[in-house]
Symmetry: C2
Subunit: 159 residues, 2 copies
Amino acid sequence: MNFKNFALLFLLGISVVSCSQETHSENTQNKELIFAKGEKITNSNFTGDVYLNNLVEADSLNQNAVGSVTFAPGARTRWHSHPAGQIILALDGVGYYQEEGKEKVMIRKGETVKCPADIPHWHGASADSAFVQIAITGREKGETRWLEPVTDAEYTRSN
Amino acid sequence: MNFKNFALLFLLGISVVSCSQETHSENTQNKELIFAKGEKITNSNFTGDVYLNNLVEADSLNQNAVGSVTFAPGARTRWHSHPAGQIILALDGVGYYQEEGKEKVMIRKGETVKCPADIPHWHGASADSAFVQIAITGREKGETRWLEPVTDAEYTRSN
């Protein structure tokens, strides 16, 4: 083997080893979701594919329910309101949040939203990206009030 | 260039392109913590290096405060209690949680803990791993009551 071939093989070897390490690392990160996706929601309060993992149930010790919700691209809640409000923590992807009478806002990984009590609003994924959120919902004043579905026209309306 | 050299160069090219894509993807994931680490806590309510990112402040809209807390290995809170309890969501690493009169339990990424109101407890990182948690703390009944530091003997006691 001449020097040129040897040099090429050496570089190729380094590239392959380096690639396989990075692939392993990347795959490990992808597999390790913090919270499992949970079960697909089958009720009519959502449009599109939405998954729920109930992390913490409200009970006499603490009136907050905490859930991880995964919206496929384009999926969203109906319009709805919470008697004690809600806090949303965006864990991954890009989503939308809109309160009645206000413009739709984009929510990205790491951002938070505070939904006031009794204000109709909706949230969900953007059209091109899934969206994973933690929802912290106070149950001390009653259950969520579900309203009309978010139409495609409402969903796609640009501000 | 003969066929052998051409084939080697071709494979090398593929490897380099493939590597650079994976490196970009991996770097993006590594850099993108969901929530920034925040500021180092300098008060005496903690032992070791602890960082706090206040994500959501309690206010008239919602009485829950939400924070991301990062404990370095060995770091922990003092014993303390919350008048309205607390919910802990483990985001990364391995931590400990102990209520007064009970055994210390290990908390891992993806697990949750509900601390009852007014029960003295502590939480923090394990000795060998950092621990990142979301703390959801109801402020409607007053502020956290801070008690004694967790001694090294208490921290290292095996169950």
